[in-house]
Symmetry: C2
Subunit: 501 residues, 2 copies
């Protein structure tokens, strides 16, 4: 069997492989606070790249950023009934404002008159402010986004995918008409989908959540769903049309052009550090992390190789010249990001560290390469030993194109994987068979995406729950309805089902 | 008397003027959560510009970003005794993990075994992780920064200056030697000072905090101090040399080159959204906010003026052409930021809104300007009616230079103000006189910066506290000591005193 850098492999134990990839790439780890992670520099740099690209897209679509408080008074949080019911079971609550000394240590003191909820999301706080800021149709639309931390108490946590605290962005908008709010909801879904595919190289299906998966308080929830390498689905982003529910709860009213008092129509939409989990599970392999170049913290790692001080000076000079020349070229409209790794470590160990960290391109430079005025190039989308020698200028000219090629290869590979693991089911028997059969070649693959007709009702839960399958989304823009493969009822719509994170 | 856009003026009521400037510029406002503010888009955009510039400086000095948990278990928080004592009285504490329904509403439920402290700063959490990550001298230095929200429960809050929650960055570094840690502490002080002066146009004094103002747990605290237009001092940034205090509390030990186990030497340093308060109070005037161009959300506001649809089309075309041309020019190594304000509002009202919001340059464009191929330009560093006509190309060529000139003018004005309000005192009588005399011309000015010899001891508090004066900092790099003007003791050092925020 081929030796791999990550143990276990995906087929041996997929969940454990995921943890090991994160550890080997030094992306994040658990902290002393139960369920909360530390996002380490290499992982956080991916998040910074995600932020930068998304932030530009939000601003290009007319949104501005702001910052709203972390804590919401309980009385405000309670205002939208469905909403609070959806989040009550996972709220961190601040009840005290200081600590006092007691025998053996400290304990909370200064009990607050009203408990404060650490935001699991900020609809109610935005609502409270919007009701003050919005008076007239002239104040609309109001299009604000916030980058923030949020908390949802989780019993079973997994780095990036499910943690008690996570980082995200939440857009909250208010509009004068229903049509405009729906169009905003869909616009942001498109922004997310395009970002996921063109930047993260994660193919996604756009859809609408069936009733049982809707955001608490929303009229409709749109989502992008991605397939992971174990065939499970990951919800990678959501965009909610909130109707007038939150406007009524928070009294967001405006004077219309016609002079009447109306409730505003609101939306909210968000993506989180969960995207990094999706990125890991879409692209990584049994040698560790694979990062699409567009969000890689470094594009090119230069590895100097030398045996003595004399060689060292020559090699490092050459490496610096290479770095400078590369930094003058652009990839994805930004200077190429290059790092020289001159740590005092064995060459093999160093190379494998960068493979495990997912650096898109590794360049080895030793005295023999310098003699030939060349560089020795490895790519993360090829096998570790599949390396090519390039003439110096030829490589610096082509580096950007190679990165583009890697980005495209990753996307294509992910598209192929999804294609191979997407199925249609015309009956419940077929449906069941797909989710229960063994995949001999890839035992980690549990089902995949299954498309079938189903009614948008909790009635289907009795069929899918025993299989641990969830209804991921209703496919958008359907022309015809059909017969539900579960209940046999007519008027069913095409949905995608999968096991899920 | 001259009519001003802000009521009251600085001389009439300085604290109230400050609140009114924030409101008129739409920077921030109070939220339903006691002591917590909402940073509104125009205010948040200033923070984004501050972040972008500082983040570049941190990275250029070798730091990387990461993210650590919001909540710290009480048992960890307690580890450094002085530190916890310093923050115990202002900590928000999470004690419950869900809400349950009771008659009449919800109440906290799911009491945690161990209370969790919302970070007032993160020395203890970084310490807990650093003790795992640092094993050998090869792991040092470790240079990590985090952009985050923190909470310090404050009874008397003021927007930006003192709020229960605020945004900041906190750098935490660990080093193998004392010298290296001290040099890091001073390097970051220099980064802050240069940033404050060259970007925010706020002149600052670099100094070391006297013992009673030191950060809880630090060996020495360095700071930058700025003077506000009421003569009070604002601490605008701090950099702490923590010695081995936190390393001992958190067991951050490493194997030295010589093979011995040593405690690491650590530092921490931070600036916060308080800088925006300092910016407001340094530059703004009785017509509202004045923003140094380098951090202004928009550099140039174009105000189209027309009376009918025919004029409208012509004027807007011309404005768009102007905007496009300006955006192709650079200021401070970035494209100039331009906004056309075509809202349906009276011209005078619109112009005054932008004056109050502190936009550096306003450009009015009406049919007559177009006929002359010119634009009519107002600058925030000149009187509102002091406007100049420029030929179109001449203006687009000069715009960057005008912004540079405004930036420099603001800095010069602030330097002059500090000069006029800095004093020396050779005796306690002189000292007292400066802080108690009336300033007839500027009644808001309470003293200013006063330099004198004083001993670094709590003994001086009985002299300065009744005057509501604080010891701001010990001047760096002093050659000689002198006699304390308070206690008469020898061995005193030159310090700066002021009333303060």
């Amino acid at each position: 069997m081929k030796k791999t850098a990550i143990t276990p492999t995906r087929t041996e134990n997929y969940p454990e492989w995921y943890q090991q990839v994160i550890q080997a790439a030094d992306l994040a780890e658990s902290s002393p606070t139960r369920g909360c992670m530390v996002i380490k520099p290499w992982g956080y740099a991916i998040w910074e790249n995600i932020q930068q690209d998304l932030d530009r897209r939000f601003k290009e679509t007319g949104h501005v950023n702001a910052y709203f408080p972390l804590l919401t008074p309980l009385s405000h949080f309670e205002k939208e009934a469905e909403h609070v019911e959806g989040f009550a079971k996972e709220c961190a609550v601040v009840t005290h404002s200081r600590l006092k000394e007691v025998e053996g240590g400290l304990e909370p003191d200064g009990k607050l008159e009203e408990p404060l909820v650490v935001r699991p999301t900020s609809e109610t706080m935005f609502g409270a402010m919007y009701s003050k800021w919005i008076q007239s149709y002239r104040d609309l639309p109001l299009l604000i986004n916030q980058w923030a931390n949020v908390m949802r108490w989780e019993m079973r946590t997994r780095l990036f995918l499910r943690t008690a605290e996570f980082l995200w962005q939440e857009g909250h908008t208010a509009h004068a008409t229903k049509e405009e709010a729906i169009s905003e909801t869909k616009q942001m879904l498109d922004v997310y989908a395009d970002f996921a595919e063109s930047i993260l190289a994660i193919p996604v299906v756009k859809g609408e959540k069936p009733c049982m998966e809707r955001f608490p308080g929303a009229v409709s929830t749109y989502c992008i769903e991605a397939i992971m390498q174990d065939g499970k689905a990951l919800q990678a982003g959501t965009s909610h049309f909130l109707g007038q529910n939150f406007a009524k709860a928070s009294e967001i009213r405006f004077l219309s052009k016609e002079g009447t008092q109306e409730y505003a129509w609101t939306t909210s939409w968000g993506v989180s550090t969960r995207l990094i989990g999706g990125l890991i599970m879409t692209h990584s392999d049994d040698d560790g992390l694979v990062i699409p170049p567009k969000v890689a913290p470094q594009h090119i790692i230069i590895l100097p190789i030398y045996r003595n001080n004399d060689e060292r000076d020559k090699v490092l000079d050459y490496c610096k010249r290479l770095k400078e020349k590369l930094q003058k070229t652009q990839f994805n409209n930004q200077p190429i990001r290059v790092q020289i790794d001159d740590r005092d470590l064995r060459g093999g160990e160093k190379t494998w560290q960068w493979i495990k960290k997912g650096a898109p391109i590794r360049v080895e430079v030793g005295p023999r390469d310098i003699e030939k005025n060349s560089v020795f190039v490895g790519r993360r989308d090829k096998a570790p030993k599949d390396k090519l020698s390039y003439e110096f200028d030829n490589f610096t000219d082509k580096a950007s194109a190679i990165l583009e090629e890697i980005q495209n290869n990753l996307f294509k590979k992910a598209i192929d994987f999804r294609k191979n693991n997407s199925h249609k089911a015309d009956s419940f028997d077929e449906f069941k068979a797909i989710f229960t059969r063994n995949n001999d070649k890839y035992p980690q693959i549990q089902g995949g995406f299954v498309e079938c007709f189903a009614i948008d009702s909790t009635e289907i839960e009795e069929y899918i729950k025993p299989l641990k399958v969830t209804a991921r989304c209703i496919i958008l823009d359907q022309k015809e309805t059909g017969k539900c493969i579960f209940t046999g009822k007519e008027g069913a719509v095409k949905m995608i089902f999968a096991k899920s994170y």
